[in-house]
Amino acid sequence: MTTNLPFPDGEQGPPDGTGKHDTLGADGSLEGEDALIEGTSLWKDAFRRLIKNRAAMTGLLIVLFMSAAAILYQPIVEYGTRFTQDEQHSYIMPKAPGSYSVPSYHYRLMDPEGDLSFEEIDREGTGTIDFQDVHEAYRRWEFNRLDREGNGKLSWEEYERAPFSMSAETVPDCERWSEIRMSMAPIEERSIFDCDADEQGYLQFTNAGLLVEIVSAGEARDIINRLDETGSGYLEPHEYHGLPRPERNWLGTDQLGRDLLTRLIYGGRISLAVGLLATLVSFLIGVTWGATAGFVGGKVDNIMMRIVDVMYGLPFIFLVILLMVVFGQNIILLFIALGAVQWLTMARIVRGQVISLKSQEFVEAAQTIGVSKPAIIFRHLIPNALGPIIVYATLTVPAVMLEEAFLSFLGLGVQAPQTSWGALASEGRQVMEMAPWMILWPGLALAVTLLSLNFLGDGLRDALDPQLRKD
């Protein structure tokens, strides 16, 4: 049974490096003698074909961009959003994309100039800062930001444009309004104008309530407690080392107030790492297995390939699920388990390649001069079969990433405080009614990366195996 093979045996010409059929290059320069002398290697030719494939190049760029973001994660956190994934915040509601929140006290050390000054916080000039001052300062900061006209009051238009975390039920009547405002229950934003706006339809600072709150009273109290050395409950000027200015959450936050963009980059780091490493595992197992079977041939080949056939029938993913449930929380196990599932097709491809290559003269030559069998396999056969291997490996990466995301989504893959795109999507699903962005962005990141990798893999296949091109 070789019917599952994406690359049927022997369909490729021998990519033996001479590139005979490739000199008919795109520039059609067969007539010029120089072109004949220079020749075009298979790889050069493939590269040229790949560059021309716009979808594949776009895919490559996107993948490179994602990888760069993942690798540069730390600097991005420090100079960009300044939240790390393991910071705990006391927010209980996710914030919409574009809203502001205050970086944790720890991270403000990165940029002391971005701090609020003592005078900005202590507006009454009492010479001390208590938690109400901090709370008030951040509320006023938010109020001023929303107040685009700068007239000290909010119109409905100004208010409406601000990204707020949620809106849901209408408030039944204005008498219950203050009580609802205190309880953080979901509120219809318009209703604040029916109840709290003055006659001219403007919202004063004092009426804006929780709707301009980017730091809760509890958080303000936390900040004070952390800085308060004397235990007095308030800060004196010498105890004050600055408080960070609010920063923008471009993609919103999760329900703990953690910046989603940062979490996304951090999650991408793990998703991509799992994709690459598990592919590497599958590559190592598959290439060794397939090359050995193909090269040795005969009974050994038969037995090894029967084993592969049998394993194709196994419900591997269920064993992986079982393994993850049982041993959980182990990312190395995840790499190995996912890689161990994916090597079967690779083994079949490599075997087919090796069988078609091993009767070639260069292998016979190597055998004649006494090169050992493993050396022939790894030095001569595999490098020549590299084209299809690379193509299939590229297509394995999205498959593995998908499986990792699938496991993480079930809560079985990457465990908190680490995260991956699948785990983020899983978190997002639980609050998707009030915070659809929490599933949208991780889902989008995953889909775009998978799409790019698929396009890249297809492009590589078209470039490296012209005969396999279906058009």
Binding site: Y312, F318, L319, F327, N330, R429, M432, P442, G443, L450
Partner: protein, 356 residues
């Protein structure tokens, strides 16, 4: 053909047996056990009832549970040799060591594995260790949902995928082709656990056309089936297009055209059969993936299917239910794969399994 089926059936039984043994081993290696939640006296009965005080395998096994106070535990007729120690590197980040038990031959029949296999040979899957239903009852109630979900998803995949791939392949390199293939590529790249919640968001919460969770009427099966099926629809479209392109330049198609047959008959009678071969050979892996996908989809839509039981029982350490689910999945898969192979010989007479 009969020989082939016979040989494959024997191989399948061997495969399922291997899976049972591996799963037995993995479940027993897990930290925690199904009797942990019970009070001491009940735990004692629970341990004895499920034979958890015995070694799992004749040779190498995790240690049986340590005796609780006041429990009369099973005792081996012959002494076990305990050889310390083998290192299992994957538990909680630290290495854990399990002793190796070498058990006297007379005690082999009393290992947990042997007891479980005896239960199986009586045609039973045993009792659930957490609930008071048998595994058969539990899975019997859940299976119809999973089967219906899988079949509907497959139907969606084939009904959308084959025509789309056919159209794209017949109009190769036209905007139609590029359009269909780009959509298919996007379809292959959207994970079903992202698609599902988004569909719920749009059709259940926003438009209110379907209920978001549960399965009470036939309408409730629509969103889950679409969620599960769309990925495969996209994949089938890609395969069908590839098949069409491969077949359409073959000599027999040219002959058919030369005979003056209409394009419709050429495509439907002659090309389609050959073009569908890649799709048929994909059906085997597709079944496996559909079953795995159904775990997630059942989770998203809170459906009472087999997948829900699988994850829940694995988390609860309901050993028998886990093993029962795995046996059910493996049997389904192995049977379906066999059917696919037979279907393949029917479609492509060149393939014969008998001379292998």
């Amino acid at each position: 053909m009969t020989r082939f089926i016979l040989r494959r059936s024997i191989a399948s039984i061997f495969v399922i047996f291997t899976i049972i043994i591996i799963s037995l081993w993995i479940t027993r290696l897990a930290p925690s056990n199904p009797c942990l939640e019970e009070r001491e006296v009940q735990a004692c009965t629970c341990v004895k009832m499920h034979h958890l005080d015995r070694p799992v395998f004749p040779v190498y096994s995790p240690p049986p549970l340590a005796p609780l106070d006041g429990c009369q535990y099973w005792e081996a007729e012959s002494d076990w040799q305990i050889i310390p120690a083998i290192t299992i590197p994957f538990t909680d980040g630290e290495s854990t060591t399990w002793p190796i038990h070498i058990i006297g031959l007379s005690d082999w029949g009393n290992t947990q594995a042997a007891i479980y296999l005896r239960t199986l040979s009586r045609g039973s899957l045993g009792d659930s260790m957490i609930t008071d239903r048998t595994v058969m009852e539990t899975l019997g109630a859940a299976l119809p949902y999973t089967i219906q979900l899988g079949l509907q998803a497959l139907l969606i995949a084939l009904l959308i995928g084959i025509p789309a791939g056919l159209i794209a392949g017949l109009r190769q390199n036209t905007p139609t082709d590029y359009g269909v293939m780009t959509v298919a590529m996007i379809g292959v790249s959207i994970p079903n656990f992202v698609l599902g919640p988004l569909l719920i968001l749009l059709f259940s919460l926003h438009l209110g056309w379907f209920s978001a969770v549960g399965w009470y009427t036939w309408q409730d099966s629509i969103l889950p089936s679409i969620t599960l099926g769309l990925f495969y629809a996209a994949y089938v479209a890609r395969l069908t297009r590839g098949g069409v392109l491969e077949v359409i330049r073959k000599d027999y198609i040219r002959t058919a055209r030369a005979k003056g047959l209409s394009e419709k008959i050429v495509v439907m009678r002659h090309a389609l059969k050959g073009a569908l071969l890649p799709v048929v050979s994909y059906l085997g892996p597709a079944f496996a993936a559909l079953l795995a996908g159904s775990v997630v989809v059942e989770e998203i839509f809170s459906l009472p299917g087999v997948g829900t039981h699988f994850v829940r029982s694995a988390l609860n350490r309901d050993y028998n239910l886990v093993l029962g689910t795995i046996i059910l999945y493996s049997t389904l898969l192995v049977t379906l794969n066999l059917l696919v192979d037979i279907l393949y010989t029917v479609l492509d007479p060149r393939v014969s399994y008998d001379d292998e």
